[in-house]
């Protein structure tokens, strides 16, 4: 469906520099990067390197847990940003219901997907930590159980987003579901905690609150690194979602215009359809007339 790229390759293959010039037609080389996101990416990489040093080398093993505490430097921040992602999805869903602009829908979906990624990391590192500490990969303590349920909630939400229906209907349903995400998380967390607390289990899930020194630094660096990675991923995933929306919209307009053309209307009708759509969506028209349809 896309016409082949019609420029000579510009820039390095990994997308250095700004987007390449757009020649005639709809096709361009491009990517989801921008100067700001590149800076963000560099910072993220730097802080990850710092985390590796602090987490694996410079900080000492714990008195009780020995070296397995090093998994906590990823696990705890990952759990925090998992919740952050859920929060963003709920807020974005609420904003979409109020404003109905596609950006909010894109943000809700992107945030949920990354939250799911971090849920996997949380559960994975948590269970790898549990094995040497408690002797078992899984235990039904409050934290792990609610995280597992939260993962199910996210999987369900993302499944709903993939439906093959009219985009507005899909966004509406997803937004209502997304709006309920944080309330569900709170309810699940509270009830599971209450339930498991009845069994007086002495778990070591909480990090020793008097954590200090190099271990505290490692944890802080962990939060910084995981946070920057989360943000960078979110920016790019949001842009991809935005592009998906644009692509879907353009395909729809093109299909409509082609139908009209088939019905015997001249080519101008195709251009008219495109430009009226652009006006409707508030985007400037900088293309030359007579662009090649894909």
């Amino acid at each position: 469906m896309t016409a082949p790229a019609s420029t000579s390759p510009t820039g390095a293959p990994d997308g250095d520099g700004g987007a390449s010039a757009a020649p005639a037609g709809r096709t361009t080389l491009g990517h989801t990067g921008s100067p700001a996101s590149r800076v963000l990416g560099a910072l993220a990489l730097g802080s990850v390197a710092l985390l590796v040093m602090y987490g694996l080398v410079w900080s000492p093993p714990d008195a009780e847990m020995a070296d397995s505490v090093r998994l906590m430097y990823i696990h705890v921040p990952a759990a925090s940003f998992l919740y952050t992602g859920c929060f963003i999805t709920t807020v974005a869903s609420a904003m979409w219901l109020r404003r109905r602009t596609p950006g909010w829908d894109a943000l809700a979906g992107a945030s949920a997907e990354i939250a799911l990624l971090f849920a996997a990391i949380t559960l994975g590192t948590g269970s790898l930590w549990g094995r040497p500490t408690w002797g078992t990969y899984w235990t039904w303590d409050a934290r792990l159980t609610s995280t597992a349920l939260l993962t199910a909630l996210l999987v369900g939400y993302l499944a709903l987003r993939r439906l093959d229906v009219d985009p507005t209907a899909r966004s509406t349903r997803a937004a209502v579901l997304g709006l309920l995400l944080v309330p569900n998380v709170i309810i699940v967390n509270r009830s599971v905690e209450w339930w498991r607390s009845l069994h007086q289990r002495s778990t070591l899930v909480k990090l020793d609150p008097t954590i200090e020194g190099q271990m505290l630094v490692a944890l802080m660096v962990g939060f910084l690194a995981v946070g920057l990675v989360f943000t960078w991923l979110l920016v790019h995933r949001f842009r991809v979602a935005w592009l998906e929306y644009q692509s879907e919209r353009l395909d729809l307009d093109l299909a409509l215009a082609e139908r009209r053309a088939e019905a015997g209307h001249p080519r101008e009708a195709v251009e008219a359809a495109r430009s009226s759509d652009r006006r409707h969506h508030g985007v400037a028209d900088t293309r030359r007339p007579g662009g090649t349809p894909a």
Binding site: L97, L149, A152, L153, V155, G156, A159, L160, L163, V165, T168, A169, T172, R173, V176, L177, L179, L180, P183, N184, I187, V188, R190, S191, V192, W194, W195, L198
Partner: protein, 222 residues
């Protein structure tokens, strides 16, 4: 709104009564689930009796999935949804009506399953007050939540597979609360169970309100 709700509830219940799917299929299915548990676990009656509360509510949840799916299906046939929108019936009324119908159906199933559990698992009924109130609160919570989520998946080809995936994690707290309340009642220490009953009531109210507010948006936007 209440008149609209009664109207819709009446319609849903009449559809169910006429089609008899609930009595002929859902009810036997739920008893079958109880029987399957006996196959899966040691039919040594002590084990089943100890686990009865949890098994009971699990069976209720599975039956609820079917009941809610059928409730959603009523509005999927040609033009019913548009007719609802155009008729001027308050969407909150539609929600309350549908949820009420589901609740009635569920209560019937729960009584049946209660008999099943007493007979098949040898449970001694005790703490009747707590049992009844907890069951009522849990039923309203399940019906309200289910009707809202039913609307989320209504009209979709994948409704039957998506509904359980969306609904069961959300109902996990209801399962926890209802089971703990029943366990407390049956063990003769209802004092522990009333707090859980409170949780169930809270969830019921929460989802009733959420559903009433959101139903309009869902009816419009789909």
């Amino acid at each position: 709104m209440w008149r609209d709700a009664a109207l819709v509830a009446g319609r849903d219940l009449r559809v169910e009564l006429r089609s008899r799917v609930t009595t002929n299929q859902v009810a036997p299915f739920s008893v079958l689930v109880l029987i399957l548990f006996a196959f899966a676990l040691d039919p040594d009656r002590q084990l089943l009796e100890r686990l009865a509360s949890g098994l009971y509510w699990t069976a209720v949840l599975f039956a609820a999935l079917l009941a809610i799916s059928r409730s959603a299906a009523i509005d999927e046939t040609d033009g019913v949804r548009d007719a609802l929108r155009l008729s001027g019936i308050d969407p909150a009324g539609v929600f309350v009506g549908k949820a009420a119908a589901v609740a009635v159906v569920l209560l019937g199933l729960e009584v049946l399953l209660g008999i099943g559990v007493v007979v098949l698992y040898g449970v001694d009924l005790a703490g009747a007050g707590l049992v009844v109130l907890a069951a009522l609160a849990a039923t309203v919570a399940v019906a309200a939540t289910g009707t809202l989520y039913g609307a989320l998946v209504s009209g979709l080809r994948v409704r039957e597979t998506l509904l359980p995936l969306l609904l069961l994690p959300v109902l996990a707290p209801v399962l926890i609360g209802a089971t703990r309340a029943f366990e407390a009642a049956l063990a003769g220490v209802p004092a522990d169970g009333w707090a859980w009953c409170g949780l169930l009531a809270g969830l019921a109210v929460l989802y009733a309100v959420a559903g009433a507010l959101a139903y309009g948006t869902l009816l419009e936007g789909s």
